[in-house]
Subunit: 90 residues, 4 copies
């Protein structure tokens, strides 16, 4: 599916960006940079990671969960989804 | 629906519990209680509120979202759901 | 202390506002309002509660923690503060 | 400072672990692994990142903030700290 390839590429690009941010944080700590500047970067990486999680959640709901619901097997998938969300919105 | 009534009663019970916790926090601040003890209570109320949010999210996905998906109108509901989640998992 | 009284009044006002929001959420669930509208309100109450937590954290750091640091007994208070934060930034 | 070197090494080790987790997430998405498994990994990376943030917050409070408080210049640092926390406990 063309569209799915696009979504995947976008996702991988976002993940690569977070990887770069984490490498930046590593370097900042090595160079003894000011703590609050490091925290600002952690905050940015964290936000990037959340966007990745949201994009995956959206894709999962549109794909697997929706398909399961259509074939009347949604309950198990919804249960799993809500359990997973529990870890994210604490 | 009997089951839905049960879910609703459980939800209202949880919300009432959070209300009680917030009243407790109000009293603790009035009585100048130790800050960290107040934070512990805020943390508990916050966790209670998240459980309420999760329960509502679960019910919404099982109900409205699943129905919309079954009648091939799921996209709009999923979009709305993911947008709402964005505020919760920041 | 005049200033402290002001801070306390402001804090109590914020907590009362969250109390009102939780009562509103209770009513919305009772009236079977649309789930996403309830989630929006939970999100608002949650943000209000976080502001209360931050204000208490700030006051605690300016007060107890700063005093403990000045009398070279800060370590224990800082430890306690960081442990408490652990619950909030998960 | 010997102790500070140890803290820094521990911090860098934690950050490297998060880097490895993010690379793992990248690979999982490339290999089209099951969404919920990816979310579990994101959740783990996120928790690792929070631990790094907490460790930095603790070090900053014990170091810069405590020093500033001792020389009666704490207010500005505490303000900055609380502002930073605001982004983390949303």
């Amino acid at each position: 599916m063309e569209r799915s390839q696009e979504v995947k590429k976008d996702l991988l690009r976002r993940i690569s960006k977070v990887e770069g941010q984490i490498r930046g944080i590593h370097r900042m700590v090595e160079e003894d940079r000011y703590c609050v500047d490091v925290l600002v970067q952690i905050s940015a990486a964290r936000a990037g990671l959340q966007k990745v999680a949201l994009a995956i959640l959206g894709g999962h709901t549109r794909g697997c969960v929706a398909n399961a619901i259509r074939s009347e097997q949604g309950e198990e998938y919804i249960e799993e989804l809500i359990n997973e969300l529990d870890k994210f919105i604490k």
